[in-house]
């Protein structure tokens, strides 16, 4: 009985991080229609820069967060400016974007390995553990969930209530019409990449604090983010959040039943089934909300 | 030859086609007209299989088409063009047309050992059709080198070469210069004389008047009026639906 509850809690923890990744991807996909797998690289930089500044250089964590966010956003924006926008100018086919995003992903992952070296990094954070009978949850985990929720709420509010949010929705629905209506769609895409990358940086930081970081996690997280996005219905932030939780949940179940080795494959199995059976996702929205 | 019975189709809340019914006779030229958004291209998509109806039935030569895949419908004899030219951009004109002409080239074992070039018979057929429509371009050129008007001629050639009993032309003369427009008028009439059955979507009423036996007017997803061109163009309902368009 308690095991189920623990699974739930672990699912929420993992899901919170995946939700940050997935929402960022949703933003990016909504305005640019690119399957930005290289998003995983941004997450990596977020985590590694933070670790480097705080743990290796011994500077304050706040500074770490600052550099992490700045660095990740810069990387995300660069990828867009130097590659995706250039391809857009040349009216590239879908195939071209797929190849370039994978190329960026591998390029980025190898850069991380080169710059920060491959050994597993950890933060060795010990925080108070709260126990309810056989349930465990640490303070760190609680903080993680709170920060996630907070950011996601702000995000939703921005999309719903601000002028920028409106412009994003318009661009997502039909970027030609949006641009005719005077919306600078290129700016909107930039901002989407910026916001998405910021979320990715935070995700990276939180992952680092709670779990360990390694160079391969970038691609896994990107895939999980996409899975969450597809489950929830591409274009819906709320859906992505729900999808993220679902991914987290099924992962925990898989680990419980089959052992840790299969954890990362569950997302794919989920992705496979959803694409086949319910490609529009659970919320079936094709519009950006 | 073609019969639509109470066809309805909506896309995410927008009712594109509503209770649409009409019949097409063999060896005729029918024009499907109507204001933008009337549902004409949707009808084309529903007949050719690019879309499936929510309600109603489509019969082609008494065969129910409803959920048949696109390629099966093509093999039944339905051949179509597209509003915006769609071609195999990396291949030559000749390759494009050979693909249209050939019939079993999707069967690996049959085609594996055949020559890709196309035998004399195939090539002659292609040159014949290109001649017929007046497409004067070296067949070896990449298909993207065609001018707009030439693309329209190419579209027609491809539709003709594809083995068919029924031709659906989506705005064959949209944006085309007057001389080419006249060429198309002659071509279509010749095709009818050869026994072809044609359904076309067009906005150019003069063109329609010259070419069509029957005109079907659609508005807001259903058939508004049906009859010969002269009758249609003096019908009040039709003029109202077209408010603002010169007839």
């Amino acid at each position: 009985m308690w095991i189920i509850a623990q699974i739930f809690i672990n699912a929420i923890i993992a899901g919170s991080v995946y939700a940050l990744v997935a929402s960022g991807l949703t933003f990016i996909y909504a305005t640019s229609r690119i399957f930005h797998l290289a998003h995983g690289v941004v997450i990596l930089f977020g985590a590694y820069i933070f670790h480097f500044v705080w743990v290796e250089q011994g500077l304050s964590p706040a500074l770490g967060v600052l550099f992490s966010i700045l660095g990740s956003v810069a990387i995300g924006l660069l990828m867009n400016e130097l590659v995706y926008e250039q391809q857009r100018k040349r009216h590239a086919k879908r195939l071209a974007y797929l190849i370039s995003t994978i190329a960026l992903l591998m390029l980025g992952t190898s850069s991380i390995i080169l710059i920060f070296n491959t050994s597993l990094k950890s933060f060795n954070i010990q925080t108070t553990v709260y126990r309810f009978d056989q349930l465990n949850i640490t303070l760190m985990q609680i903080i993680l969930i709170v920060i996630s929720c907070f950011l996601l709420l702000i995000l939703s509010a921005v999309v719903k209530y601000t002028k920028f949010g409106k412009a994003m929705r318009a661009t997502s629905d039909n970027d030609e019409v949006a641009s005719i209506m005077g919306i600078n769609t290129r700016q909107i895409r930039r901002l989407s990449f910026g916001i998405g990358s910021l979320l990715a940086a935070v995700a990276g930081i939180l992952i680092g604090l709670e779990f360990n970081i390694d160079p391969n996690m970038g691609v896994y997280l990107a895939i999980k983010g996409f899975t969450a996005m597809v489950i929830g219905g591409v274009g819906s932030i709320g859906g992505a959040i729900f999808g993220a939780f679902l991914v987290g949940f099924f992962e925990q179940i898989a680990v419980w039943y089959f052992g840790a080795g299969w954890k990362n494959s569950i997302a794919f199995v989920l992705l496979f089934f959803f694409l086949l059976l319910r490609p529009r996702g659970i919320f079936g929205l094709k519009r950006f909300r | 030859m073609l019969k639509l019975q109470n066809i309805s189709k909506s896309f995410g809340g927008v009712q594109a086609v509503k209770n649409c019914s009409f019949e097409i006779e063999k060896n005729s030229i029918t024009a499907l007209v109507g204001p933008n958004g009337a549902g004409k291209t949707t009808v084309f998509n529903l007949v050719s299989g690019f879309s499936n109806p929510d309600k109603g039935d489509i019969f082609f030569e008494n065969k129910k088409l409803n959920h048949l895949p696109i390629w099966k419908r093509s093999r039944l004899g339905i051949s179509r063009t597209f509003q915006l030219s769609r071609m195999f951009r990396n291949l030559s004109i000749e390759d494009n047309l050979l693909i249209a002409l050939r019939e079993d080239d999707d069967k690996f074992l049959k085609m594996f050992l055949r020559d890709v070039e196309g035998d004399k018979q195939e090539k002659n057929r292609i040159y014949e059709i290109m001649d017929f429509v007046g497409l004067k371009k070296d067949p070896k050129t990449i298909v993207t080198d065609l001018s707009y008007g030439q693309q329209k001629l190419f579209d027609l050639s491809r539709a003709l070469l594809n083995s068919h009993e029924f031709l659906m032309l989506d705005e064959p003369v949209a944006g085309v210069n007057p001389i080419l427009r006249d060429t198309f008028k002659k071509l279509l009439k010749e095709l009818k004389a050869k026994g072809e059955t044609i359904l076309l979507i067009e906005h150019d009423m003069d063109f329609v008047r010259h070419v069509a036996d029957t005109v079907i007017v659609m508005d807001q997803g259903s058939v508004l009026a049906e009859g010969d061109p002269e009758y249609i163009f003096s019908d009040k309902k039709v003029l109202e639906a077209y408010l603002g368009t010169t007839v």
Binding site: F35, A96, I102, L114, S265, P279 | F50, N90, R114, V116
Partner: protein, 286 residues
């Protein structure tokens, strides 16, 4: 020095098969198959397990592995009926990961991360030169067969599917079946390549079918040119030439791996942006 040359040439032959078969699916048919390397691994592991654990002959092993991979290729093509483009690519990436997970976790068969050692070359081909000749012949055979396929009416239909699938269908082509044939052939040959790789290097582990081959094959197929078999061979030669030249930079060994990837990916991106057709490709990415 000579031994080194033979070594590289053998690898080039093996990779030529990998890239040509990838090109068939991607460059000619337009099916982005990131799982190609996963199938390479399946071919390799199948043969390795059959010959080391079950003492099966090389001929039987390679036949079995090739057919198995052909079958999986066929299976992979089925989702492409409902799932298109980007989503299909995502799914194939999934196959890559799942196959990787299987290699790592099915320890009874694959020995997990320890890998499989002591894979023996077929009778009479144990010497590097003779194995190279065998590999070379295989790559020639592959080239000729794939050349016949792509340079036939069927090949043109594949290209039509790549350029505009719906229009191809509207011309009466059974596109689902054609795609299945393309993926089956692609799987068949990459399976064979996997077998050759396993018996050449004589040691495989999950990491052998992960980043490195993916990087090499992706770079080679794009740089050489999509929809050009000769381009694929050229691409492989180029990639290996660049790769080996890096040795002369005398970098620390931990740096070489990542540096290679970075270099290839940058070249890949440059090619995609400024010369999407690659060196002698026929299909444009624009």
């Amino acid at each position: 020095m000579f031994a080194f040359l033979i070594y590289i040439l053998t690898l080039i032959c093996i990779y030529s098969i990998i890239v040509m078969s990838l090109n068939l699916a991607m460059g000619y048919t337009g099916l982005v198959n990131f799982g190609h390397i996963g199938l390479l691994g399946v071919g390799a592991y199948t043969s390795a397990i059959l010959t080391t654990k079950f003492d099966v002959s090389f001929i039987f092993a390679i036949t079995f592995a090739a057919i198995l991979c052909a079958l999986i290729g066929a299976l992979l093509s089925i989702p492409s009926r409902k799932i298109k483009d980007d989503y299909f690519a995502l799914l194939t990436l999934g196959f890559l990961f799942v196959s990787g997970a299987v290699f790592i976790n099915w320890t009874d068969m694959t020995r997990g991360t320890l890998g499989i050692r002591g894979i023996v070359r077929p009778e009479g081909f144990a010497e590097p030169i003779s194995f190279f000749v065998l590999t070379f012949i295989m790559s020639l055979v592959t080239f000729f067969i794939l050349e016949k396929v792509t340079n036939s009416p069927f090949g043109r239909v594949l290209e039509a599917i790549r350029d505009d699938e719906q229009v191809a269908e509207s011309l009466g082509k059974n596109i689902d079946r054609a795609k299945m044939v393309a993926m089956t052939l692609s799987g068949f040959f990459v399976g064979i390549a996997g077998v050759f790789m396993a018996h050449f290097i004589r040691f495989i582990n999950p990491a052998s079918f992960w980043l490195d081959p993916l990087v090499i094959s992706l770079a080679a197929v794009v740089i050489g040119g999509l929809a050009s078999l000769r381009g694929s061979i050229l691409g492989v030669i180029l990639v290996f030439t660049i790769s080996e030249s890096l040795r002369f930079l005398s970098l620390p060994s931990t740096m070489i791996g990542p540096m290679r990837v970075i270099l290839f990916m940058i070249v890949l991106l440059v090619v995609i942006l400024f010369r999407p057709k690659g060196i002698i490709g026929r299909a444009d990415l624009d």
